[in-house]
Symmetry: C2
């Protein structure tokens, strides 16, 4: 699934500017998709060119003007078709796990810090879901709740695994170092 399709998804929840779409990615979608301005603005420009969205320049008081995008019927049809055609892949790209696999090339202190950083990131993510932002104001559907629950369960399992095995792992690394 590309950023263009996901922008259509955000627009299916209501009209929005590029900046507002980015906030949805950052807040509601952050547990399963990352996208920045560099992807979103070109995507919106092409959706407009293809007739899947229309763009209206809105003047604001005490704020810069914004370009608000609105999804067309063709856009909605394209989004439904894209969903029906999407395989439910689930990919992880984890520098955390790379550091673990090559832990023997780091000092035990560096590995300890790595584990602590991952733990505090997980805790921040869990807090984000618990606060309700993981769903977003915009999407309080059954599907969004199920997705948030899934993300929560997965994060919690990772946290518990690290907490349970961290000390044993670090001791082993420290002993190997002495040899």
């Amino acid at each position: 699934m590309d950023v263009k399709t996901l922008c259509l998804g955000v627009l299916s929840m209501g009209d929005a500017s590029g900046y507002e779409i980015r906030k949805v990615f950052d807040e509601a979608f952050s547990h399963f998709y990352v996208a920045g301005f560099g992807s979103i603005y070109p995507a919106l420009a092409e959706l407009t060119r293809e007739g899947y969205a229309t763009c209206k320049n809105i003047e604001q008081e005490k704020r810069p003007a914004k370009n608000v995008y609105h999804m067309t019927d063709a856009g909605m049809a394209a989004f439904r078709a894209a969903l029906a055609d999407t395989y439910p892949s689930h990919k992880v790209r984890s520098d955390f796990m790379v550091l673990l696999v090559f832990a023997h090339l780091l000092t035990p202190a560096q590995v300890r810090l790595t584990l602590q950083q991952r733990l505090s990131d997980i805790e921040a993510n869990l807090a984000h879901i618990d606060s309700g932002l993981g769903c977003g104001d915009s999407c309080h559907t059954e599907g969004a709740k199920f997705a948030a629950g899934f993300a929560h369960a997965v994060l919690l399992a990772g946290k518990e695994y690290i907490e349970q095995y961290k000390d044993g792992f670090l001791s082993t690394l420290e002993n190997k170092e002495k040899e």
Copy 2:
């Protein structure tokens, strides 16, 4: 962390051709990093150009010749430096979760299939780790074992969540459809 750095990591475990490096990505690293030929070959070419690896063309009987890469001391130093400088990020890109969030735009049958596909992918991943390939022949270090255990715990939690809440979720979607 880019593909170039991870290729250095694979070479730190022993000399290898591009094709063999790809197999390591596919087998040992598949739970946290995806990379194909299109990324690996250019990365190896640049590592050679930078003096971090040397390349030797090896003729084989009944097989095409291969370019075997060997890490230099400068390459090892660069790899250690890159590890020390890497934040332990952990990013998910999940079309599965996108489909969940927009489940109201699919039929309940499509959502059911989506959940089944994810479950069988998770089961395949768990079996891969249980078989020992998740660590790879090459890396049977403490770090690789810890990483494999982490991946296993996270996958299992996802599987259990889906199994536990799947039926309730699908019933709700079916009831909403009747309205």
